[in-house]
Symmetry: C2
Subunit: 107 residues, 2 copies
């Protein structure tokens, strides 16, 4: 698969554990801890209807299957792709994960 992304995740996890240890030991404060986590997070951007459809077709799945992965109804996926409903919050997070890591990342 994508070794780079997997490596990055593992590295972040390892660093996070180290940082957590430093936090437990009182070396750093909670403020530093939060700022670190913010820097680690992959940015979550907006998706246009076309981008959502293109993303789904890139993964070669039907709206129904895509909906199963996202844990939403098939109608919701249809409405996203037609611009009737605009995904936000947790939904955008999932879409971002799929875009950056593929469907397998949320399987």
């Amino acid at each position: 698969m994508d070794k780079v992304k997997t490596y990055k995740s593992d590295a972040f996890a390892a660093i996070h554990e180290t940082m957590s240890g430093m936090y437990d030991a009182g070396v750093i404060g909670k403020k530093t801890m939060r700022q670190f986590d913010e820097a680690c997070l992959t940015p979550v951007q907006a998706f246009s209807p076309t981008e959502i459809k293109a993303l789904r077709e890139r993964e070669e799945v039907s709206q129904t299957v895509f909906a199963l992965y996202m844990n939403v109804s098939k109608d919701s996926v249809s409405q996203w792709e037609r611009g009737i409903k605009k995904p936000a919050g947790p939904t955008l997070k999932l879409l971002s994960l799929v875009k950056q890591k593929g469907l397998a990342a949320i399987s």
Copy 2:
């Protein structure tokens, strides 16, 4: 991190690609394809307020940091843990991913 889970994901991805190839070649139908995908998906169960708080504390992050990972407001996390709002759909999917693979899975 967790080699077993990583392996499972990679294996599923590989099998999925194989299945996709079979589908493209006309060996299998869409129905079989969907049933396969359903079998691959990790089950998404409900979370009680206590379970959400325990999960967050297991990951050793504040409500604010946890909210950043989930791409929701910090108030939402607080409301989940107090039982005022019950996460559903995409949110439950993210919580399930965190429970099974850790916060790094959605970073």
